[in-house]
Symmetry: C2
């Protein structure tokens, strides 16, 4: 166990028991204020620690790296330092915040400069994402979709249990929590007509996912094994893979989803490190048939993370529409990364790899409206009395995610995005 993960640790910063950010978490993000340019921060309780200020105290001197990385507008340069250094930084911060450590605690002048209230800063996109990949790793989700659109008796395609199916997505349109998204326009075609028509999607959906952010990988041509995978994963965020189902249905054959996805994806601002998530590890589902040797792994590689989806119509309260858990994922992250690189594909610091929609085994644990309202046949009732088959304009979709161990909550905070009406094309 890393010292930072000790459940007995307490901080001299007061943290409420419901907080997602106890001293055992310490996620990284990018923030700014009216006075402060974008830079690296770490969350604890209701506070954010300004690392560009903190480093001036010399607390990282022994770690021997260029602390200029904390003054950058993205985490990429920090993540590029590699696991050994990013881990040491988090351990050092943990130590500084522990109740008996007086270095920062007793330096009131420094504390004033170093701490901000989270609610008083603006959180920005944490990484400049180079490449974004989306997996399709939930068996429940793949089965639901296969049943709806292909054949319920052969819902999973033949390759599904042999490899973690994935496709490349668009990095330019990935937004951070709080940024609005526009309803996309596009081509759709009803089964009963000959020609497609054009207009705003009528089937706007979310997809509940987790995504991991990578460290710099190996040179092109070399693979990363399942055993090595964690050395190349910095941390995780909540991920909403916005989807337009009607556009997807018409466009996706034979090369996969394109405009139905690339209008926007959203991520949560705090990157929870693999180190902080270590105590939440749990065994995944049995894999049968046996996977090829390069996909075999040791130990527990799934995570016991509760995931929730809420819909909040304008001028109304939020309704919980799904509650699931990432432990259900058939393919784990070590397998995903091993598969992604087995052909020699290279990865860079700040690449994002998402899990695919995470659906659980029960209808209230599905990770998309497509499944929750079963293709529109079972509309969801909201607490306002309204119904939803898909997402309406001005709806806000909120994801929350957290794991609990020894009464300590390691969480992601929230991912919240509002849908605006489509813009009429020029």
């Amino acid at each position: 166990m890393l010292p930072s993960n000790n459940p007995k640790l307490k901080s001299w910063i007061e943290v409420s028991p419901e907080s997602n950010f106890p001293i055992q978490n310490l996620p990284f993000g990018i923030f700014k204020t009216k006075e402060i340019l974008p830079r690296v921060g770490v969350a604890i309780g209701d506070f954010i620690i300004d690392l560009a200020e903190l480093k001036k105290l010399g607390v990282f001197n022994a770690l021997n790296f260029d602390t200029q990385v904390f003054a950058k507008p993205y985490l990429n340069d920090f993540i590029s330092l590699g696991k050994k250094t990013t881990r040491a930084v988090r351990e050092r911060i943990s130590k500084l915040l522990q109740e008996r450590n007086h270095e920062l605690r007793d330096n009131l002048k420094a504390r004033e400069k170093v701490f901000h209230k989270i609610k008083e800063v603006e959180m920005l996109l944490p990484v400049r994402i180079g490449d974004y990949t989306d997996f399709y790793s939930s068996m429940e989700h793949a089965t639901n979709v296969g049943s709806m659109f292909r054949d319920p008796k052969n819902a999973l395609l033949p390759n599904w249990k042999h490899l973690p199916v994935a496709y490349h997505g668009r990095a330019s349109s990935i937004l951070v929590s709080g940024e609005d998204i526009y309803r996309p326009n596009g081509q759709t075609k009803a089964d009963e007509v000959e020609f497609p028509s054009f207009g705003p999607t009528k089937q706007l959906d979310f997809e509940l996912e987790l995504a991991f952010i990578t460290h710099q990988g190996k040179p092109l041509g070399q693979n990363i094994s399942t055993k090595e995978a964690e050395d190349y994963i910095f941390g995780l965020v909540l991920f909403n893979d916005w989807s337009a189902r009607d556009i997807q249905k018409w466009e996706y054959v034979p090369l996969g989803p394109f405009l139905s996805k690339n209008f926007a994806s959203s991520i949560s601002p705090w990157v929870v490190t693999m180190d902080a998530l270590e105590p939440l590890k749990i065994a995944g589902p049995d894999q049968f048939p046996e996977v090829l040797p390069y996909l075999k792994f040791e130990g527990n590689n799934n995570f016991d993370i509760t995931l929730e989806v809420y819909i909040k119509p304008e001028n109304s309260n939020e309704t919980l529409v799904s509650k699931t858990n990432s432990k259900f994922l058939y393919w784990n992250m070590a397998q995903q990364l091993a598969h992604h690189t087995i052909n020699g594909c290279n990865i860079n610091s700040g690449d994002l790899m998402a899990s695919g929609t995470i659906s659980g085994p029960t209808p209230d644990s599905y990770g998309s409206m497509l499944e929750l309202a079963w293709k529109g046949t079972k509309p969801l009732k909201l607490i306002s009395g309204e119904e939803r088959k898909f997402i309406h304009d001005h709806d806000t979709v909120i994801f929350r995610g957290y794991g609990e161990i020894n009464g300590i909550r390691i969480g992601f905070g929230e991912l919240k995005s509002k849908v605006l009406p489509s813009i009429t094309p020029k």
Copy 2:
């Protein structure tokens, strides 16, 4: 007609009639030497002009932009200046090189610093590619592939003539001409067996494509019309979309190609501007059924560019294996960009959008080995006497491309990559 495109222009730099780089071309690239850090250059004949040196003469002063962009290791910052400025820079360089212009011609001291022989510099990847998209815009290619793998009578899928089908690719593994590629490992499954097996691909293929590089686009949510498209396209390169056919066949359902493509793609180092290509414009094929309004366009939007593929086994000469033309493409670049952004997807400076394999109507004009050797049933004879169904280790694949107008050749130079044996996975 832009002044730089006047076929009567001659330069005081001697350019042989077979050169791809007459004064009417002036493509942009990134080069370095042992002494010179990566920076922006422009080609004329056998020479490269060092723009970071050239700007010191004050020749761009009237254009009022930050000439530091020429000292950068990628073209992105230059391209970010926008079409108006990049066009003005090319026009200014054209003027400087015209035979009666003495500004640079008579400044022998400056000429020594500004010019290098192309064969004495190293050409680098011209852009830091943000997002890479691959279209599927050749009807002949889509028909050939559909005939082989699906149904010859219904080779084109129902959506194909209504929208330019595309998918996202991997930007991290895009290499420049001259860089070797490794044969990828991966899962494949023969039809007659139950389980997949693992190993180096047995069906390594090239795909002959052109790709365009974009200027900064509009904010998320807004589209770029076919009419506006050219304002957002900086220039074109040759593109080799390396493909592993056996891996592709097993993995691509339902989300499209992934590991079968993302191990490597290759581009030519010189970006030929849309301005230089203007005289090569030609009408494309008729489009029927009629496309939706947002895909309609005015004028000629195809390009009359001859494209050639050569295979050169180790210690042997090259054999021409395909000769085709980009004028055959069904969907043009204006339509591709309009489609890509019709859902509000944003684009950045340095994004790359490739055409998809360009196949002509005759069997000697197909753009991939899959088609040329028709799934391995018609092996190609090389001049060495060897046969090829797919690409072997140590083969070099060479693309060349150029258009001719009024006896002037506007060319891309070459794109050349050698295949190395796969690395055994760890």
